[in-house]
């Protein structure tokens, strides 16, 4: 992995290799089950959870339906408070704005707070091309950066690594980026965290420029909110002279009061805590406290295209808590990398194909990276109906139709690989409508099961590419039923 998602294989291919990685599956199963149980307890503490969830969804819908007005209001409030607002229509524009701002300070290094938006636009690579080195300061992002790896989870980007792997990465790579790992570093999480503290402290104390995202932006007041645990966020947000925040336009909320909903929903859904250890809120700049210059880069990069889809729009409610990842049976087995995007898991399966379009094979495969079990919808704190959007996007992949790309209405053609699937479904319907044919076929298959391949040839190939063909039973179910239940019934008479 080289820190980019370009050229990633389609989900079924990536998932097929990931599911065979026993270590990865063990790491993921342990982590997702731990957080899943903790989250359920944290949520159960609040008897009004369902009402908070409803309010969270409604506030986001209000925001999205009037997004232009709220963005203008936000811009005015941030500017009045001493900040400077920039607009970026796509990743390239955002990267250019940030790079120019950094270069204008004369600095060649920046410290970074974990941010999905900058991951999405590939900011670190863009800065590197301009001769600027970006240091990730979130512990998990540091592990990913040192390991020349990609994040695989929204909240815990290095969830696919266990303690021994992390120790090895620290021992081998820390010295290249700054202070080396202590001699004889063990794999105890406390020792690993201490190594990260020592490694990063020098960078925090020397940094002149920081780059962050934000969890929320309040239109009414111009207040930015960053929710975190380690204090690396506070370091980046308060010690440097210049702060640049890159934030998706959907992160705005109308009013100060709205934070009372999201600051209850987010920590319990993401880290399963009553409240995360640190939350920073700032409005523009403050004399003699924190950065002297604050720049807000408002990022579109496919968000307005997503907004144009009245079914898919709800994906923009997402507050990046990652609860949907932790309950997803597909994510648990396939791992985050298979989704080929900064946004893995169920939310990634609906967000990525909308942000990027379904033009590539990978993006067209993502709406299928789900069993449609609905667990993601159940846990979503802003009630995004992920299964509904998945089905909607599958329809688009298979049928094609009108969509908005880069602000323009275009008509997309059906994806090629899916013609076979349509044919297979038609064949299945015919077979199921003719039970005699089905019965004969099953008997024949039962007798020939020694010859069964693991992968199907022809039109069935796409289906078995991501699944091992289940072994055929010696006896079809309907035969078994007739033999056992039929006899019982006769005996009972």
């Amino acid at each position: 992995m080289s820190g980019t998602y370009l050229g990633m294989p389609a989900f079924p291919t990536a998932a097929a290799s990931a599911t065979r990685d026993g270590q990865l599956r063990a790491n993921l199963t342990h982590a997702t089950h731990t957080i899943r149980d903790k989250r359920a307890r944290a949520v159960a503490e609040l008897p009004d959870w369902a009402l908070l969830r409803e309010a969270g969804a409604a506030i986001k819908d209000r925001t999205l339906r009037h997004l232009d007005g709220y963005l203008e209001r936000l811009e005015a409030a941030v500017t009045a408070a001493g900040g400077q607002v920039h607009w970026a229509e796509d990743a390239e524009a955002a990267n250019r704005i940030v790079t120019d701002l950094v270069l204008a300070t004369g600095e060649r290094e920046v410290v970074k707070v974990k941010s999905m938006a900058t991951q999405e636009i590939g900011l670190n690579a863009a800065l590197e091309r301009a001769g600027v080195r970006a240091y990730e300061t979130d512990l998990a992002e540091l592990i990913v950066q040192l390991g020349d790896d990609l994040p695989s989870h929204i909240l815990v980007p290095a969830i696919h690594r266990n303690r021994t792997e992390i120790r090895d990465i620290f021992r081998e790579r820390m010295a290249e980026w700054g202070r080396a790992a202590p001699e004889g570093l063990s794999d105890r999480p406390a020792d690993l965290a201490e190594a990260a503290r020592l490694h990063l402290r020098q960078k925090f104390l020397d940094a002149k420029v920081a780059v962050s995202g934000a969890n929320f932006m309040v239109a009414e007041t111009g207040t930015m909110v960053v929710v975190e645990s380690e204090g690396n966020g506070r370091m980046c947000l308060t010690l440097p002279e210049t702060l640049i925040s890159v934030v998706g336009i959907e992160k705005v909320v109308p009013s100060w009061r709205d934070l009372e909903v999201f600051l209850q929903l987010l920590p319990r859904s993401s880290t399963a805590e009553r409240m995360n250890p640190y939350t920073s809120m700032w409005t523009g700049t403050t004399d003699d406290d924190g950065p002297r210059a604050f720049h807000l880069v408002l990022l579109d990069n496919g968000r307005t295209d997503t907004l144009a889809d009245t079914v898919g729009r709800q994906a923009l409610r997402c507050i990046r808590c990652s609860a949907c990842l932790n309950v997803c049976p597909v994510y648990e087995r396939a791992g985050g990398h298979a989704y080929g995007s900064a946004y893995p898991g169920p939310i990634g399966a609906i967000l990525t194909p909308q942000l990027r379009g379904v033009g590539s094979e990978l993006d067209a495969s993502l709406p299928y990276a789900s069993s449609l079990c609905g667990a993601c919808y159940e846990v979503c704190p802003v009630a995004i109906d992920i299964p509904e959007v998945l089905v909607h996007l599958r329809e688009r992949v298979v049928e094609g139709g009108e969509v908005t790309r880069n602000g323009r209405r275009v008509r997309i053609r059906p994806a090629r690989g899916h013609a076979a699937e349509r044919a297979a479904m038609r064949a299945a319907r015919w077979t199921l409508d003719h039970p005699g044919v089905l019965r004969a076929g099953q008997r024949l298959a039962g007798r020939m099961r020694g010859l069964q391949p693991r992968r199907l040839p022809g039109p069935g190939r796409a289906w078995t590419a991501s699944r091992d063909l289940p072994p055929l039973p010696a006896e079809p179910f309907r035969e078994w039923w007739r033999r056992t239940r039929g006899e019982q019934r006769e005996a009972g008479r």
């Binding site: 303690r163 009061r257 409240m275 809120m281 307005t304």
Partner: protein, 212 residues
């Protein structure tokens, strides 16, 4: 056309389904959730939740406070302490051998890193979540002084600075001030989701509940 016009234009076209005459208020937001989860005793709940997140909780009267703070600094072998400009004089009255470092804009991050402890007041404490909120008031100082030193002692006046819930807390705060919400000491769960206290912020958070 500026990038601003491009993005706002796209937003407006994307919202073609929204009736022009619709106002934001016409998109209903039911705020039927609870204003508080009604703890029996907010101060007790605050103490419990602070401790649950590994903050060390102490109680003192005004008369006991100087001795307590001096003892906490001594226990950590603190030789220097950061002092916000508006911190009551009496709070550090008994901390004789500890060098006082005033909170100044000119202090470099490296200078702050050389200080052992910091003592502050707070703006609001939220019982249900075990959260202290600092608003950079005179007895709290700049945001960075409660971040760089490894030991933070925060004094909460009870019951007047304690609220029950997040909604009540937000109503007491002024958005234009820089705000720092602190729930337990710095922590991470990034390694196998095992919680480890203390990564970058103070590894030791001590809270004094000051009554009377």
């Amino acid at each position: 056309m500026s990038a601003r016009d491009v993005v706002l234009g796209r937003v407006r076209r994307a919202l073609a389904d929204v009736p022009r005459e619709e106002t934001p208020e016409q998109v209903p937001v039911a705020r039927s959730y609870l204003d508080s989860h009604a703890p029996a005793d907010a101060v007790e709940l605050l103490a419990e939740n602070l401790a649950d997140y590994r903050a060390l909780v102490h109680r003192a009267t005004a008369a006991e406070l100087p001795g307590l703070i001096a003892g906490l600094l001594a226990a950590r072998e603190a030789r220097s302490v950061l002092v916000p400009v508006g911190l009551p004089e009496s709070w550090l009255a008994a901390a004789g051998g500890v060098r006082r470092v005033p909170d100044e804009a000119s202090a470099t991050p490296h200078a702050l890193d050389a200080v052992d402890s910091v003592v502050t007041g707070c703006a609001v404490a939220i019982a249900e979540t075990g959260t202290l909120v600092l608003d950079a008031g005179p007895d709290q100082g700049r945001r960075r002084i409660t971040l760089v030193p490894d030991h933070h002692i925060c004094v909460v006046r009870v019951p007047e600075q304690v609220v029950e819930s997040v909604p009540q807390g937000l109503r007491r705060l002024v958005p234009e001030r820089p705000l720092t919400w602190i729930s337990g000491p710095s922590a991470t769960s990034d390694i196998e989701l095992d919680r480890v206290e203390g990564v970058h912020g103070p590894r030791r958070l001590e809270v004094v509940l000051l009554a009377g």
